[in-house]
Amino acid sequence: MKQEIGLLVIFLLVFLYDTFMPKNSLKALPVVTTLLMVVFTALGFGICYGGNTSAVAAFGGMYETSAVVTAIKNILNIGVIIVLIQSIRWANGELMIMRRGEFYELLLVTLFGMYLMISARHFLLFVIGLECASLPLAAMVAFDKNRYESHEAAVKYILTAVFSSAIFMMGLSFVYACAGSLYFDKIYNALYGEHTAMLVLALAFVISGVGFKLSLVPFHLWTADVYQGAPTSVTSYLSVISKGATAFAFLVILAQVFGSIYSQVWEWMLYALIILTITVGNLFAIRQRNMKRFLAFSSISQAGYIMLGIIAYNTMGVAAMMYYILVYIFSNLAAFGVIGAIENATGKISMDDYRGLYKTNPRLSFAMMLAMFSLAGIPPFAGFFSKFFIFTAAVGQGSVAIYVLVLIALINTIVSLYYYLLVVKAMFISDDECTIARFRSAFSERLGMWIAVAGIIFLGLLSPVYDYLLDLTADSSLLAYFIR
């Protein structure tokens, strides 16, 4: 609870600062917010290390926190800090003067929503968290007033989001009909060993509702358009933080609510979804020229890999998934950092504009290359380790089907390597007359990139990170239902 309250405090501070401080001091708002976040995250780590690691329930079992939950929230916080750092320049831009404060406020609210999603042990709270995490994002997507795409993206986002929440709630009503309660543990006990048609349908609807946030195929179609239309900072936020939080929440739901359903019905659903997600995401990504759209599809297929950690249903899988999320945050944010820097400097976001970038901006293209390699899972960058661990964890489940699934996923990594290399090729190999000229990116952007790149390089090589995550999951009662 401390974290949620802390977050709300920051939210209020920012709100008050934005409202009551004089106009000329508002310039400092981004920095102040970022610093607040840093302090907050540091405190979060303090909780993580200092406090007891057993699960604590509150509000009549509606809310629960434990060391793992704190850890995943901290992981999200780190991502948010990088996003904030990277967006400082954008937030201080001409366009944003009127909306600077609101950006931060909305962002903090969505983060709060995600916290709720992760900690919720009651579906009502979960729904509120979900809405909290998605509705303000629609407003954020629409932040770029001058770009038509931004508006279009916002409309698409809000319409599909509301639709999906309608379906989700429909599913919840079925769950309610079956179980008579919306508390996770009660549902678990009520549904033990059942598999009625209604339940299956409810499960499908719930999965689709969460899958929408995670952009699993076929619930992903909004993703590309929204990523492309949204301001880059929002896109990066959307692609990593929102996805990471939802993935974890998804894990919690599947483990604590539907884990008891007869013969792990959801497992087969996930097999189908994972294969579809990875494959379709990759196939679409191949043909993209717009970098943001490209990363959208890439993030779709990454979501499929994250799901592998869930399907493993063992502690290793959970740890691998958290680790994957962490690494993915760094890798993707490095990529978005570069895209953002280039967009801010030149306004170009097409892959073709990146041709010959290495000649003029070697450092940027180097950072981008590392990000691409990490996303593609090339050693010695962190992405390799996270992918390897998640595959190892998945195979640990032991069935033949999982071998097939992992093989399909591995073959898909080749396709993904192909399109990641396309970016590298554009930057390093291709030549073009109208290369982006040499420019110097802002300090904040560079700082953001440095952090992300450092993460890419060191997260994998430094084993304690993963060890620590695995220790957490091993202790945790969170997954007690889940682990057989």
């Binding site: 299956v200 499908a204 609807f205 043909r287």
Partner: protein, 669 residues
């Protein structure tokens, strides 16, 4: 015997090769040539010393109390160990034939070294380009050839076998700017390589069963013992099966494994010795400088095949069928080469075919040798012929080289009537021709006579056949002789000075070789070389009836040649027109080259390589590419899903969710 001298025999040429190869360019031509020749001279002395020591010192390690000559391994160091028993060693084996070969090789090689000092420069005394390289290669060849003959095991032989092939390749292609030389060298290498494949598989088979590479083990292990290992009792199916199951000797495609091994090894010998189907490289190899032809393609390397069979002779004796094959191949080749030699115009080609024919003689001789006939006379005869042939054929080649050097052409139509201009060449050449024709008292008479009597002992048909070949040999050699030195008066071409005799460096070897040819026949070879080391009296087996017959045959052939070619006349043309088809086929060497060209270019390249390459690029690679193409196609195909229409998105969402639920429900219920 100390190891120093044998090591020096091998090391000096090797050192010369490396030294001249690396530093040759930095030194003058003359110095390089002189160094090479001196080096070879030293080796010559050492080799003579060694051979003399072997034959005549009477040391216990060379000859036992019974007077049998022994195989003596002077040194043998491990070079590469495959398994505990299969070990390649590099060593130095002295026995009668290797001692004899040492003498042959060093003699001819030294002569060639000396001769080349004169030959490899033009009339103004300017050395040819790559003179140093030439000497380096000659040294390399000498090294490899010496290594080959002193090999202690079959794999060492194979190693040096390959090396002589390579040095032959380099020397044939010495004039590397000449396309014909390049292709000739390539052909020589590839054809012999093909034969070596057989050799290799033969070695592998043989060594698998015997568990050794060593010649001493292979040949001096009691023959009966080996025969037990190899032979399977073919009388009843039960015994065959018993033989196979005991792992003794499986029958493979109708022949025992030993037969296969020996035949395959013989294939290697066929390649090197230019036996019939694999002979095509030797005539082309004449593209190399003439001294090279004398050394490699007349005297030493081409007899390696004979030497190989002789080396393994005790093994061959165990398999009658293998020896029959050797005989048949030899006989056919001898006849074929003789026929072709009668029609060629290029003097070196004539000599080349003559070489093929003579080597075939040696092969036949080995093939017909049996211990029961005159204590293996054929074996001795073969080695004897090898020795004499090396001398007189080198003599002939060097003589031909002198002619070519003087005239500037290989074609006898440009020569004619040279006897007055080049007396030394004329006389030495004549001696060579008489020797090869088998006229007493020249060396060829004795050795050929031994062969014929061995053949006569074996089968009268072989004897008649070989006599016919001997007749043709005398005929074509004297045809050549008359066409070069007689026929009509020499016409000096415009702009050329009259041909004259060569400098001393070239004359001396001619004279020495001619002298050897004159006297070599009287060497008591039977005392020195025999298949099992036991000396026997040479003259005891000398059959005067056969000798007389063969002498008559030779003289008849010479007379016929005299009639036809001494003076310019129309007889040859008439003969040619009388048998146009035969003449054309013989002139074109029975179209063997064309057949090979067809097989290699049309079949191997056209029907195997090219289709395979196409298959690789289009089918295999196409499959790999098609994965990418299919992926791209799939990407295009699902493009409409992302239509940009939010209602379509939602519809797909809905259908997806319903399908997910619906299918699961259907599966569960």
């Amino acid at each position: 015997m100390s190891v120093t001298i044998p090591i020096l025999i091998l090391a000096i040429p090797l050192f010369m090769f490396i030294f001249l190869g690396l530093c040759g360019k930095k030194m003058s031509h003359l110095l390089a040539g002189t160094l090479g020749t001196l080096g070879m001279g030293t080796v010559l002395v050492l080799a003579y010393y060694t051979a003399f020591n072997y034959f005549f010192s009477g040391q216990a390690c060379f000859i036992n109390e019974a007077g049998e000559r022994l195989q003596h391994v002077i040194f043998n160091t491990t070079w590469l160990q495959f398994t505990d028993s299969l070990v390649i060693k590099l060593g130095f084996l002295l026995d009668p034939i290797s001692a004899m070969m040492l003498v042959v090789i060093t003699t001819i090689s030294f002569m060639v070294h000396l001769y080349s000092l004169g030959y490899m420069r033009d009339h103004h005394g300017v050395f040819e380009k790559g003179f140093q390289r030439f000497y380096a290669f000659l040294s390399l060849f000498s090294f490899s050839m010496l290594g080959l003959v002193v090999a202690t095991n079959i794999f060492q032989m194979y190693i040096f076998w390959e090396l002589v092939g390579a040095s032959s390749y380099l020397l044939i292609g010495f004039y590397y700017t000449k396309p014909s030389a390049v292709s000739a060298s390539k052909k020589a290498f590839i054809v012999t390589r093909f034969a070596d494949l057989g050799f290799l598989i033969g070695i592998l088979t043989l060594s698998y069963y015997t568990g050794t590479f060593n010649f001493t083990d292979l040949t001096s292990v009691p023959v009966e013992g080996l025969a037990d290992t190899f032979r399977v009792d073919l009388s009843t199916p039960e015994t065959v099966l018993a033989g196979i199951s005991s792992g003794a000797a499986p029958i493979f495609m109708g022949a025992s494994v030993l037969t296969w091994a020996l035949v395959l090894i013989f294939v290697g010998g066929m390649g090197k010795s230019a036996m019939l189907p694999l002979h095509i490289w030797l005539p082309d190899a004449m593209e190399g400088p003439t001294p090279v032809s004398a050394l490699i393609h007349a005297a030493t390397m081409v007899v390696a095949g004979v030497y190989l069979v002789a080396r393994l002779f005790p093994l061959y004796l165990m398999e009658n069928s293998a020896l029959v094959i050797v005989t048949v191949v030899g006989a056919i080749t001898a006849f074929y080469a003789a026929v072709v030699a009668c029609t060629q115009v290029d003097i070196k080609r004539v000599l080349a075919f003559s070489t093929i024919s003579q080597i075939a003689f040696m092969m036949v001789s080995l093939g017909v040798a049996r211990p029961e006939y005159h204590e293996g006379l054929g074996y001795m005869a073969s080695m004897f012929h090898l020795f004499t042939h090396a001398m007189f054929k080198a003599l002939l080649f060097l003589g031909a080289g002198a002619l070519i050097h003087a005239i500037g052409s290989n074609d006898y139509t440009e020569m004619h009537g040279l006897r007055k201009y080049m007396p030394i060449t004329h006389w030495t050449f004549l001696i060579g021709c008489l020797a090869i024709a088998g006229i007493i008292p020249f060396s060829g008479f004795f050795s050929k006579d031994e062969i014929l009597s061995a053949a006569g002992n074996y089968s009268v048909w072989v004897y008649i056949w070989m006599s016919l070949v001997a007749f043709m040999t005398a005929f074509y050699m004297f045809r050549l002789y008359y066409l070069i030195f007689w026929w009509k008066e020499h016409t000096v071409r415009e702009g050329h000075h009259a041909p004259h005799d060569q400098p001393w460096t070239m004359s001396v070897p001619l004279i020495i070789l001619a002298a050897i040819t004159c006297v070599a026949g009287f060497i008591p070879f039977g005392n020195l070389v025999s298949w099992n080391g036991e000396p026997y009296d040479f003259m005891a087996h000398f059959d005067w009836s056969i000798a007389t017959v063969s002498l008559i045959v030779a003289v008849a052939a010479i007379l016929l040649a005299t009639v036809m070619y001494r003076k310019e006349n129309k007889l040859p043309a008439k003969m040619k027109n009388a048998m146009p088809a035969l003449w054309r086929w013989a002139f074109h060497r029975f179209y063997w080259d064309e057949l090979y060209m067809f097989i290699t270019h049309k079949i191997i390249f056209g029907c195997v390589c090219r289709p395979l390459a196409w298959f690789d690029r289009h089918i295999i690679d196409g499959t790999m590419d098609s994965f990418a193409i299919v992926t791209n196609k799939a990407s295009n195909a699902i493009k409409p899903l992302q239509s940009g229409q939010v209602q379509m998105y939602v519809w797909l969402y809905l259908i997806g969710a319903l399908l997910l639920g619906g299918i699961t429900i259907l599966c569960l219920i």
